[in-house]
């Protein structure tokens, strides 16, 4: 078999080679050699992007599972599998990212034995560990179906309601707790971003980004894998996204008002420029787009709105993790190229694994994988469970 060298494959190879070189520097020369982190800036790009943004970008999993299995929004059924796949890959890669950022990653399991229940970091760690396991179980039926192995699917179906509730519970906890992490630095984080409402904002942004990412990846998959775009799905998601953005916006300004910052945020300053960028991308552009009925019905506009939303909230989290500390520290932090290259490598791995999974597993509801009857004939042992997992897999 001959592998064609397309543009993106070349990009992928370059990113991987540079990433592997940087990984070598990371593990054989140390964190000081691979990054621009210092005693003044102990958290850099990897915490800001790989961790804070990574977990947010994977939020589509619990949002879609919640919408379809908890609230019975049948219309969205076809996007659950890709959303769960994205979430599962997202969390696995988040853990991979952690292995680069932790100073002593080989002791990561210490979380399980030296527990400190007062630590937000401990809570995040435990939730992420358990939620990744939950996601594994939500994802595994894809594999079992691909190899036509029915027994374990039945077992997973039996515990599916538990998985759903547990998954959403854990997501609520750690999505918000990522924000709580920053509550411990009231004197360091810039007041534009430090607010007791941080956990709520982190959860709110996870919901909005979960919806936006699902729009993004549905559209993207349709392009790349040549699938039919399901407009009703996108329209539903777009409507929900508009509501989520408005709620986020109102809460955000309610908070600025509450803390007497409404004037301050519009005065030009270094932080204000970044805040404006964030607000324009997160709220102004996507809300403006989605306010037009025509745009809400157009895949292109929905796609664009989702991209703005995602970029906006990424800016938001990078502002919290990086920009918000620069005034306190007194100098800028610019990641070293090796830091970027490891982040890029992790992103590239995500795209590649997604493509491989789509190629070999019944992720999208279409008969194009050579996988024979998708267990449609499976007797419905428990009507409420078999519906979600399998009932629509074949349509």
């Amino acid at each position: 078999m001959k592998i064609k060298l397309t543009f993106w494959r070349v990009v992928f190879i370059v990113v991987m080679v540079l990433g592997l070189y940087s990984s070598y520097i990371r593990y054989f020369r140390g964190l000081g050699a691979v990054s621009n982190m210092t005693d003044q800036f102990p958290w850099g790009l990897w915490i800001g992007f790989d961790c804070l943004c990574g977990v947010m970008l994977a939020a589509g999993g619990f949002i879609m599972v919640g919408a379809v299995y908890l609230f019975n929004v049948e219309r969205l059924h076809s996007v659950v599998r890709p959303a769960v796949l994205t979430a599962f890959l997202g969390y696995v890669l988040f853990i991979v990212g952690l292995l680069f950022d932790l100073g002593r990653p080989w002791y990561i399991w210490h979380q399980l034995i030296y527990m400190n229940p007062h630590s937000v970091m401990f809570e995040v760690g435990m939730c992420v560990m358990t939620y990744t396991t939950v996601l594994l179980f939500e994802f595994l039926p894809n594999v079992f179906e691909a190899v036509n192995w029915k027994a374990p699917i039945k077992w997973i179906n039996k515990i599916y309601p538990v998985l759903i509730v547990l998954g959403i519970l854990l997501s609520t906890l750690h999505q918000s707790s990522l924000g709580s992490l920053y509550l411990i630095m009231p004197s360091k984080l810039h007041p534009f971003w430090y607010t007791p409402a941080l956990p709520f904002f982190f959860f709110g942004s996870a919901v909005a980004v979960g919806l936006a990412m699902t729009i993004f990846e549905s559209t993207q998959s349709a392009r790349v894998f040549g699938r039919q775009l399901e407009l009703p799905v996108l329209v539903t998601l777009g409507g929900a996204l508009l509501v989520a953005l408005w709620v986020n916006l109102l809460l955000r300004f309610e908070d600025y008002f509450h803390r007497g910052l409404l004037r301050e945020i519009f005065k030009p300053s270094y932080e204000a420029y970044f805040l404006w960028l964030e607000l324009v991308l997160t709220f102004v552009l996507p809300i403006a787009i989605l306010s037009f009925k025509k745009a809400r019905l157009s895949p292109q506009w929905l796609y664009l709105a989702s991209i703005f939303t995602v970029l906006g909230f990424i800016t938001n989290r990078l502002n919290i993790a990086l920009i918000g500390f620069e005034t306190y520290v007194g100098h800028h932090y610019v990641p070293k190229w090796t830091e970027f290259s490891i982040t890029l490598m992790i992103i590239a791995m995500g795209f590649a694994l997604f493509a491989v999974a789509v190629r070999y597993l019944p992720i999208f509801p279409q008969e194009e994988h050579g996988v024979k009857p998708r267990l449609r004939s499976e007797p419905a042992t428990s009507p409420m469970v078999s519906t979600p997992v399998l009932g629509h897999a074949g349509d």
Binding site: R29, L31, H110, M115, M121, L183, K188
Partner: protein, 256 residues
């Protein structure tokens, strides 16, 4: 009953013997190059800063309610009954949350190491356990760094401030972030030497900021589980009922 250090900047002559004694106590290199360094680092736990003819010492404040201890996911830091905030290196996973959590920026990192540790003044816990003073207090030729019971030192600091008008009437560390085991008095404000402003860090113990949220989790988990489970039950009950009714109907028809 906990030990503390009182640093009186007006008595300090900037001899840096505390730096050297600290390095020796902790097996760290100390030579002219290190002595010339004016910032704390993984190999310099304490530093005497010089401004004209005045001095100010920096070291871990050993908070009564330490942020590092509450932040650490594996509990590698804890405040001992004797006063020091100590670090169990074997637990540490290297997340560096302690470093971002500390209001005084005291934990430093071994950035060049392949098995890096967090480094900071640990207030000579072994010496204290053996009934001795900290290395820095013992060596101090003028008594600028004084070791003793926290309550006694506070009394003495107030005494000195009352008797001599050159002092600014404040003890830095008395109430900052809920009180610290290092107390500073001076004829200048410690803020001029890089200490965080009292007004900025406040008197609230840092762990309370996250504690307010963490304390709610034990209540939140069962309530939210019930809500989610309830929604699931309600939204699937309809299907179940419909299925059961269909089944019933079938049976009735079959019985006819």
């Amino acid at each position: 009953m906990s030990k503390a250090l009182l640093y009186d900047a007006t008595m300090c002559i900037g001899c840096k013997q505390c730096e050297a004694a600290c390095a020796q106590q902790n097996n760290l290199p100390y030579d002219d190059t290190v002595a010339a360094e004016t910032v704390q680092s993984a190999h310099k736990y304490t530093v005497v800063k010089t401004m004209d003819d005045k001095f100010m010492r920096r070291l871990c404040m050993h908070c009564e309610k330490p942020a590092c201890a509450s932040a650490c996911p594996v509990g590698a830091f804890h405040k001992t009954a004797a006063g020091p905030v100590v670090y169990d290196v074997w637990k540490c996973i290297g997340c560096r949350y302690c470093m971002v959590a500390c209001a005084f920026n005291q934990p430093k990192y071994e950035w060049q190491s392949l098995n890096p540790r967090v480094r900071k003044c640990i207030m000579c816990p072994d010496r204290i356990a053996a009934g001795k003073q900290t290395a820095c207090a013992e060596i101090c030729p003028t008594g600028a760094t004084k070791f003793g019971e926290r309550d006694d030192l506070i009394r003495e600091a107030k005494d000195r401030i009352r008797k001599d008008p050159k002092y600014i009437d404040r003890i830095y560390g008395l109430n900052e972030v809920g009180g610290t085991s290092v107390l500073i008095i001076s004829d200048e404000n410690p803020e001029q030497y890089g200490y965080p402003a009292s007004a900025k860090i406040g008197d609230t113990p840092i762990p309370e900021y996250t504690g307010r949220v963490m304390d709610r989790i034990p209540d939140f988990v069962p309530v939210w589980t019930l809500v989610l489970g309830g929604i699931y039950w309600v939204s699937h009950r309809r299907d179940e009922v419909a299925a059961a009714e269909a089944e019933e109907e079938k049976q009735i028809e079959g019985g006819k």
